[in-house]
Each structure stands twice: as structure tokens, then as C-alpha cells.
């Protein structure tokens, strides 16, 4: 073990953060980034992982020369070509941002100007670099949209941000960052809202940029798998410090820091044991400003030594890691996933996480069901309606969820998952088709009965904060449904019930008096759950409830979902782009493509043996980033442009990208001419494919998978 220099990458670094300390609050007293060192060499891809609030965003923002209002740089600098970016005069800073670095911000929903057409926003960015005529800029914009897989780019240039799905907006931001081919791209959670296939595509895009143009990339992510796949080097942040820095390849095999290990262990994979709860890191990340004098991870670490509490560990170079701050590192060795941290919150006698409580799917009328559901969006234009610009967001979906069942919905970004969820809970009205809740048609109800019926079907939003009145306290938010439905008319008992509910989702009673902004992302999501539960619902529809959470929070949430389901007999409809998560949580899984269901079947089986080629591509992508999956797998990267939802392809909608369709087998005209129906292919398994089950994903038989795919 040797103590290393604070500047490990030496002076050949393109961009380096040195000893950066940033504080917020009056005088910057609350330290959130505490002496961070990080450097990016030219053409290097560096990943930053860590729990929520560990200072990742603040650090990468500083690389762009930006500190959010209220923040103070207490010491340190960000060096680029010998100059401190944080001290650049405004016009030089602007030049630096135009030519050198580009950023993808963390919040895709709000990072595009809502009143400007996408095309204009691209044009503006492209014009900043100069040297292109208006037509060239337009061509480049189209090219960029195509690059990130936005269907029908010509048309989309005149659309406004609100007309895009969450994942599409995220891709637009990425495209904007690529626009002027910067030297460095700083991407803060660029793939959180993306489904696995698109995510794979974006990662491939990054990789290609890096290869072709030597673009350096800083990738911040919760998703360890993604980081490992793409990056050369990974920095693990905790409590405002980089606690470990290691080559990407070493991350899954186990870092030396207990925190790194715990982080990796918390990720559900495609092979995770479904009968057990996920291992989680106990406790919470430290509150900024109250950092202990020693190692910040002390409170949650199972390898604590007496020094840990009082002395900051020195920065050393270890065998497996480039840089490490730990008094008692985990000895190098292959992934004993459970050994690093608490190996699960409450280690059972065997050291494995507790078993997951059993659940039963009940018989009877479906808790929620829809028939031939259709929702088309018209493009809103002021003066003319160009063409029949109908976006077929949901185009004839049949689905039934039995009481007590958990159904997962996965699918490409923009395939209509959110729209379907909104239709199912009655937030939006279908153009045709019906929704039934426990045999009643909510559309037929008005006024008070409708509100009463609502009680049984609740929704969790992707953006938990946005779904809560910013001015209300948590107590009010949770108590309100009980009040309006008359479930708990007595104020005192209502308060008691609120405390009980908060405890159920693992929150302290004192949380009731605070406002949602004062909580971390995971806590907000729990508040949202508590609120949904306070109506005593039968069905919970969750629209990507985890995508904004870091892995350890995600694991906690997943466990919560699993426990609540057993406890309350809830029916789940669980939308996610994380196949592994869906596999772990759901009984059955539905796959959507371009507004239609293409496959439906038991979750585990579906992941083992997908029937539809699209599902197969999803599974392959998920497997490729599965950090617990030791094998290197072939990944099916879909070819061709994603089709426009305005004019979906004829016949099978997937045929333009299908690895076993007319692209690979020109004789298969049936795919082009005839739309396959969702039919039972095997017992309990439905697929809408003329050649269902043909594409296999066994590790050995990569031959078939190679059709129309690259690695």
C-alpha cells in the first residue's frame, strides 16, 4: 500500500478537478463537495458513481465552470489547458463551453425550453459554433436526432418539448450536447429515463464518438452496469469525496472500498434470487455539513475499525484500485457480492438477505383491465394542421391484471407506456376502448361516485416531487386522501394513521411536518407511496418510480414494494425500462412496442426465453449491463431508424428493425404485409410475432443473435 500523489493522472490530463471544496448556505458553510480530485485525460471515459447527494452533480457542474446559485467554491480549481475554469472571464467561459465541454443535465423533463421548437433550440446551439449555413444546420440537426434514435426527425424538429416522452427528451439533450462535437462531454445521468435498448444505443454512440473523435466523456450514473460497460475509469463518490477510483473492469469483480462493494451488490440482475429481498446498504448517506471527522462511510460500514471514526483515511493506491480512501479495505477477490457492506440491512443467520414475503394472486374479476384501448395525439398547431399528424401513442391494447398480481410493463421509450398508465388510472381519456376497474367503468361515473371509485386505483409518478403540492406538508399530503374519502374523519386518529403509514414506508413521524422539497429523491418516492396507500387502494400503477433513484435507494424501494404487496395484497402495474427490476418484482411482464403489446408472459420465463425478437433485444441489452452476470454476452443492437409513431410501418410494426424479419430474410414478406396478432404461443405466454421464439439468447448460440447485430 503506497500513499499516492493527490493528482494521480499527472499533468497530461485534459481537464482536472483539484482539491475542489464547495459549500452551500450562508458563507458556503455546508460542505457538499469536500476536496475532490478527479482528472480526465484526452479521449478518456470516466464514470462517477455514488449515492444520491454524494456531490456528483456539483462536481461535474464545476467542470463546466458553473456553481449553482448559493454555492461557494471554498477552495480548489478546475484546470483546463493550464487555466482555472472557475475564474475565467465571462466571454472566455462562454467560448470554453461552446468549444470544449458540453453538458447533459440531470433533469431531462425541464432542460428543454418549453416554448421553443426543438429545431430552433438545435439551430441556436449549432449556430454558436459558427461555420454552418442555415440549411446545413438543419441537416445536422436531423442527423443528430437520427443519431440518438428519434423517429421521424424532419417532423420532430418543429415539435415542442412537451410533445416528447421522457426518454425522447433525454435523447434530445444528448443530441444537443453532441451537436458541436466537443472535446469533453459531461453527462449527468444521461440514461436514467431510457429503456435498455435505447440506453444501449446511446452508450454505443458515446463509445463510437470516443473512438472516432477521441471525445472525452464524464459519465455520472446510478447505474453501475452502464458505467462499467462504457468507462475506462470509475470514481466512486461518497459524502462529497471520491472514496475510490478504479479501472472500470475491476468494479464488478469487487472494489476495495466496502462502499463500492455494497453499491454493486444492491443492483438487481437478471439472475437475482426472486425469493429473497435485495441487499441494501443500511442507513442513509450523510447529511452535508455534518460530516464526521473520519471516514464518512463509518456509520454504515461493517468493516469499521476504531480509527475510521476519528481519522480521515489517506489516499492510497491499491492493487485493484487506482486510489482508495479506506482504513480497512476489502481484500481483493472475485465478487463476493454480499461481503462488502452490511450485505443486506439485517443479515440473516446465513449472511444472505431475508426472504421475500410470499404473495398470492387471487381469483375473481380483474382488478384493472382494458380492452382495445386507443389514444392518439393530434399535433397542436396554431395555423395549419399539417397532414394527419396523429401520434398513435396507444393503439389497441388489451390487458387484464388479476387481483393481487404484479404486472410489469417494459418497452422502448416513446412506446406509449406512460400514456397507457395515464389511461388506466383515468388521468386521460381514451379515444376508444374501455377501462374497467373491478368491473366498473370509471368513465361512466361522475362527481362523488367517481371520486370514491378513484380510491381503489392509485398512481405513482415518475417525478414524485412534481406530483406533490410544493406548499403542503408531508403530513397534510398523506392525510388528505383519508380526509376527502372520509376514511378517517377524526383528526387525531388521522394523525395517528399518518404516522403509521410513514412508518410503513420507513419514515420517521417527524417527517410529517416538513415539505416534500426537504427530502431526498428516495424519501419523496416513499412519501408518494404513503400517500397512495392512505386511500387504501387495491391497485397501484407505478410509472417508472425508480428511475431517478440511486441503486441503494432503489433496492430499498424494491424491497418496500415487495413487502407492501404481501402485506396489503396490492395489485401492481409496474412500468419500467429496467427489465431486471421488472423480472424481480413482477409476476407477469408485458412488452410494448409502438403503442402495441408485442409480448405478454410470466416475468421470469420471459426473461429466460423471450418469444418476440424485440423482447429478445431488450433482454440481451439488459444482460449486457448486468454487473452480476459474469459472462460477456452478445448484445442485439437494433438497426435502422425507430419508426415514426405517426405513420407506423405496415404489417408487423417491428419489421423495419427486426433481426429475424425481412431485413435478415428478404423472403419473409408476411411480416411486411400482415400484422401479427397477440396470440398464445406457449401456455400462458402470448406474443405478436409470425416467427415467435425463433430468436434464442442462450450464451452458446450467439450465431442467431449476431444476425443484424453488433457487439
Amino acid at each position: 500500500m503506497t500513499t499516492t500523489d493527490t493528482m494521480p493522472a499527472g499533468d497530461d490530463a485534459l481537464l482536472s478537478v483539484r482539491d475542489l471544496t464547495v459549500g452551500f448556505g450562508p458563507g458556503g458553510a455546508t460542505t457538499v463537495v469536500n476536496g475532490v480530485n478527479l482528472s480526465i485525460g484526452a479521449g478518456e471515459i470516466v464514470g462517477i458513481v455514488g449515492e444520491s447527494g454524494s456531490g456528483k452533480s456539483v462536481t461535474v457542474m464545476a467542470m463546466l465552470g458553473h456553481i449553482r446559485a448559493g454555492g461557494v467554491v471554498r477552495s480548489g480549481e478546475v484546470r483546463y489547458r493550464g487555466r482555472d475554469v472557475l475564474c475565467l472571464p465571462p466571454d472566455e467561459l462562454r467560448r470554453y463551453r461552446r468549444q470544449t465541454v458540453a453538458a447533459v443535465l440531470q433533469d431531462p423533463m425541464n432542460s428543454l425550453n418549453p416554448v421553443r421548437q426543438i429545431g430552433r433550440q438545435f439551430d441556436e446551439t449549432l449556430a454558436l459554433a459558427g461555420g454552418r449555413t442555415a440549411t446545413q444546420r438543419r441537416e445536422r440537426a436531423v442527423e443528430l436526432l437520427r443519431l440518438v434514435g428519434i423517429p421521424d426527425p424532419q417532423r420532430q424538429l418543429s415539435a415542442y418539448p412537451h410533445q416528447f416522452s421522457g426518454g425522447m427528451r433525454q435523447r434530445l439533450l444528448i443530441a444537443l450536447a453532441l451537436a458541436n462535437e466537443p472535446e469533453v462531454i459531461v453527462a449527468d445521468e444521461p440514461t436514467t429515463a431510457l429503456d435498455v435498448t435505447v440506453q444501449a444505443q446511446i452508450l454505443a454512440l458515446f463509445a463510437e464518438l470516443n473512438r472516432r473523435l477521441g471525445t472525452a466523456i464524464v459519465l455520472v450514473s446510478h447505474n453501475v452496469g452502464t458505467v462499467v460497460e462504457l468507462c475506462h475509469r470509475v470514481a466512486v463518490m461518497y459524502g462529497g469525496r471520491v472514496v475510490e477510483e478504479l479501472p472500470a473492469a475491476n468494479v464488478t469483480t469487487g472494489g476495495s472500498h466496502p462502499y463500492t462493494r455494497a453499491l454493486v451488490a444492491a443492483i438487481p440482475g437478471l439472475r437475482t434470487e426472486r425469493s429473497r429481498l435485495l441487499p441494501v446498504i443500511p442507513g442513509y448517506p450523510p447529511v452535508p455539513g455534518t460530516l464526521p471527522p473520519g471516514c464518512p462511510f463509518t456509520a454504515r460500514c461493517d468493516r469499521v475499525t476504531p480509527r475510521c471514526r476519528d481519522e480521515r483515511p489517506p489516499t492510497v493506491a491499491e492493487a485493484a484500485s487506482l486510489r482508495l480512501e479506506c482504513w480497512n479495505p476489502v481484500p481483493a477477490g472475485p465478487g463476493d457480492a454480499g461481503s462488502g457492506a452490511g450485505a443486506g440491512n439485517e443479515p440473516g443467520p446465513t449472511g444472505a438477505p431475508p426472504t421475500r414475503p410470499p404473495v398470492t394472486v387471487r381469483d375473481g374479476a380483474p382488478a384493472i383491465e382494458c380492452r382495445a384501448l386507443v389514444r392518439h395525439f393530434a399535433a397542436e398547431r396554431l395555423f395549419r394542421k399539417r397532414g394527419a399528424g396523429l401520434v398513435r401513442a396507444v393503439d389497441g391494447v388489451d390487458l387484464a391484471v388479476a387481483p393481487g398480481e404484479a404486472l410489469g410493463i417494459v418497452g422502448e421509450s416513446g412506446s406509449g407506456k406512460s400514456t397507457l398508465a395515464r389511461l388506466l388510472v383515468g388521468a386521460d381519456r381514451p379515444d376508444s376502448g374501455t377501462v374497467r376497474w373491478q368491473d366498473t367503468d370509471p368513465a361512466s361515473l361522475r362527481g362523488a361516485p367517481a371520486r370514491a371509485a378513484r380510491r381503489s386505483v392509485q398512481m405513482l409518478f415518475q417525478d414524485a416531487l412534481g406530483s406533490m403540492d410544493p406548499r403542503a406538508t408531508v403530513g397534510d399530503l398523506v392525510a388528505e386522501p383519508m380526509l376527502v374519502h372520509g376514511l378517517e374523519p377524526d383528526a387525531k386518529r388521522r394523525r395517528a394513521a399518518v404516522t403509521e403509514l410513514l412508518a410503513l414506508v420507513g419514515l420517521d413521524a417527524s417527517a410529517a411536518d416538513r415539505r416534500p422539497v426537504e427530502f431526498s429523491g428516495g424519501q419523496r418516492q416513499r412519501i408518494a407511496i404513503a400517500r397512495a396507500l392512505s386511500t387504501r387502494p387495491a391497485v397501484l400503477v407505478c410509472d417508472e418510480p425508480m428511475s431517478a433513484l440511486d441503486v441503494s435507494l432503489q433496492a430499498q424501494m424494491v424491497n418496500l414494494f415487495a413487502t407492501l404487496r404481501a402485506e396489503l395484497g396490492l395489485t401492481y402495474l409496474f412500468i419500467s425500462h429496467d427489465l431486471a427490476l421488472v423480472r424481480y418484482l413482477a409476476d407477469r411482464c408485458a412488452v410494448m412496442y409502438l403503442g402495441e403489446l408485442v409480448e405478454l408472459g410470466p416475468a421470469a420465463e420471459l426473461c429466460e426465453r423471450p418469444l418476440h425478437p424485440y423482447t429478445a433485444s431488450l433482454v440481451s441489452a439488459a444482460a449486457a449491463t448486468d454487473p452480476q452476470d459474469g459472462q460477456v454476452r452478445q448484445r442485439i443492437v437494433l438497426r435502422g431508424d425507430p419508426p415514426s409513431p405517426v405513420a407506423p410501418p405496415s404489417g408487423c410494426r417491428f419489421h423495419t428493425r427486426c433481426p429475424i424479419g425481412p431485413l435478415a430474410h428478404p423472403d419473409r414478406t408476411v411480416c411486411r404485409d400482415q400484422a401479427p396478432r397477440l396470440a398464445e404461443v406457449a401456455p400462458g405466454r402470448l406474443a405478436a410475432c409470425h416467427f415467435a421464439g425463433e430468436l434464442r439468447l442462450d450464451p452458446g448460440t450467439t450465431e442467431t443473435a449476431a444476425v443484424g447485430s453488433t457487439s
Binding site: H66, N110, S111, N113, V115, R116, Q121, T125, R381, L382
Partner: protein, 316 residues
């Protein structure tokens, strides 16, 4: 769009009809007698009665209303009691004068409002902030009838750059016409610009804190562009609503300003007609004012929809 215009036009007609009843009843509820006024203070009651008969004021109100309305429907707005000129021609002339004034005032108000609002939102230096809020406060606080007199004193008498009042039709002498517009338009614009600036500043401050502004900034977009193309369009809808509402107040302010500057516009005509109880003329003028307001509201809604695509839902 076309459906929107048609629907708005239909409601506008309804509004006009209803407001014509309201205006008719309202105006006549005000105590006073135009006949007495016309006959003069030394007139005998008999003279006044004759005058009433001549003006048709001895008829039942419903009958008077019906006669007026049927006239209006046939395109005849009646004649002023006092000048005997057809209301339509008086309104037309007033419209020309007021239109010029209102347009320039609106332009000035928007420019000044934008300037002050934007400056207020981005000003960092304490001195600048104090100065801006000072200008804003004075524009808000000092009533038009004072600003008018002060402006005239300063720019027409001590520093004779502009005429003290009077209207010169644009066609008769464009340069002089513009000269004569400057002071009244400025006077009218100041309070409106102050209101606009306040709303604008408020929403701008909110918008400037949004992520998309930050995102653009991090792309290296310059401050001017960031403000004008990035933030401003998002802040405009609130300001446009206020401007639309202010449109009515512009007319109200115009009464004072036109009176102060001897400007023969709708405002001063309205005040004179109201004070004289020139019923037919008031009815015509107020009807026009309501009509103009309805149109302005529709235009505001359209502008809002043009600026913010999310507002387009209700339009089609």
C-alpha cells in the same frame, strides 16, 4: 384557428348585445338631464321639455333602447345630442386620433416595460436595482394627470421640444403629427410600462431559475440571447395577460391624457359625452370600447398560444 375566430366572434356579438343593454341602463341611471344642459342654465322648464321631446327622451326607456338598437343594427349609431354629428363619424375620428396615441403608447409601454422588467430581473448591482425600482415606483405612483402636466412643463415650455397638446392628423403632416404624439403617448405609457415591468420581472426571475436556462447557459449561449430568446418567451404569457387587462386601463388613462393634451380621441370624447349625458354618443363609444376590448383579449389569447404551445389546447 378559424374555429377559434368564429367562436370568439359569436361570443363577441353576444357580449356586445348584453353590454349594450347594460350600458344603456347604466348610463340612464346616472342622475342628470341632457336636455336641461342643452337648453342652458337660463332656460325655462318649457324649453327643457321641448328639448326632451326633440331628443326623444320623453319616450319610455324600452322604446328608446329598441329604436337605438334597430338603428345600430342598420348601421346607424345615431347622432350626438350636442354636436348633431353622426356618432359613427365622431367615433371614427376619435378612433383615428386615439388609435395613433394608443399604438404609440403601447409600443412605448412594451419597450419600456421590457427594458425595465428585464433590467430589473437581471440587475445585480445594488445601485442599479434601487434606480430601477425608483423609476418603476415613480411611474406607478405619480398619476397621469401629474406626469402630463410635468412633461408639458419640461418638454413643451421650458425646453420646447414638443407641442404642449393638440392633435395633428398623420396625413396632414407626418413629422408634426409624430411630434405631437410623443408627450401624450409617453404619459400614457409610463404607468402601463411600470405594471408590465413588474409582472415581467417577476416571471423572468422565476424562469431564469429554470433548468432549461441553465442548460442553454452551459451550452455557451450568450447572456443577451439567453434572456431574449430563452427566458423571455416563457415569461411573456403572464405579461401578455396583464397587458390585455391593461388595455382597458389604457383607455381609462387615455381619458385623462387626452383631456390634458387636448387630444380629440375616444377618451376625451367619452368623458365629455359622459359629463354631458350625451347618451347616444356614450352608448356608441362604450360599445366600441367593449368591442375593442373583446378583440384585444382574443388577440392576447392568440399571441399567448403563439408564444406558448401548451396554451394551444383551448384554441382549436
Amino acid at each position: 384557428m378559424i374555429r377559434f375566430v368564429l367562436r370568439r366572434a359569436a361570443t363577441a356579438l353576444l357580449v356586445l348585445l348584453l353590454s349594450s343593454v347594460a350600458i344603456f341602463a347604466f348610463i340612464r341611471a346616472i342622475p342628470g338631464d341632457p336636455a336641461a344642459l342643452m337648453a342652458g342654465p337660463d332656460a325655462s322648464p318649457a324649453t327643457v321639455a321641448a328639448m326632451r321631446r326633440q331628443l326623444g327622451l320623453d319616450q319610455p326607456a324600452v322604446r328608446q333602447y329598441w329604436q337605438w338598437l334597430s338603428g345600430v343594427l342598420h348601421g346607424d349609431l345615431g347622432s350626438s345630442y350636442f354636436s348633431h354629428a353622426p356618432v359613427a363619424s365622431l367615433v371614427g375620428r376619435g378612433l383615428a386620433a386615439s388609435g395613433a396615441l394608443a399604438l404609440l403608447a403601447l409600443l412605448l409601454a412594451v419597450l419600456l416595460g421590457l427594458l425595465l422588467g428585464v433590467a430589473g430581473a437581471v440587475a445585480r448591482r445594488g445601485v442599479v436595482r434601487v434606480l430601477l425600482s425608483g423609476i418603476n415606483t415613480v411611474s406607478l405612483a405619480v398619476p397621469t394627470y401629474v406626469t402630463g402636466v410635468v412633461l408639458v412643463l419640461l418638454f413643451a415650455i421650458y425646453l420646447p421640444a414638443f407641442p404642449a397638446g393638440g392633435y395633428i392628423p398623420f396625413l396632414s403632416d407626418p413629422a408634426d403629427s409624430l411630434d405631437s404624439l410623443v408627450l401624450p403617448a409617453l404619459c400614457l405609457a409610463l404607468p402601463v410600462s411600470a405594471v408590465l415591468a413588474r409582472y415581467l420581472k417577476n416571471s423572468l426571475v422565476e424562469v431564469l431559475g429554470q433548468d432549461y436556462v441553465l442548460a442553454a447557459q452551459l451550452r455557451g449561449v450568450g447572456p443577451a440571447r439567453l434572456l431574449l430568446r430563452g427566458a423571455l418567451p416563457n415569461a411573456l404569457p403572464a405579461a401578455i395577460t396583464v397587458l390585455g387587462v391593461q388595455a382597458g386601463q389604457i383607455l381609462g388613462g387615455a381619458i385623462v391624457v387626452e383631456t390634458l393634451f387636448a387630444w380629440p380621441g375616444l377618451g376625451s370624447s367619452l368623458l365629455q359625452a359622459a359629463l354631458n349625458h350625451d347618451y347616444v354618443l356614450i352608448q356608441g363609444l362604450l360599445l366600441l370600447s367593449v368591442g375593442a376590448f373583446v378583440v384585444i383579449q382574443a388577440i392576447c389569447d392568440l399571441i399567448q398560444a403563439a408564444v406558448d404551445p401548451r396554451m394551444r389546447k383551448g384554441l382549436t
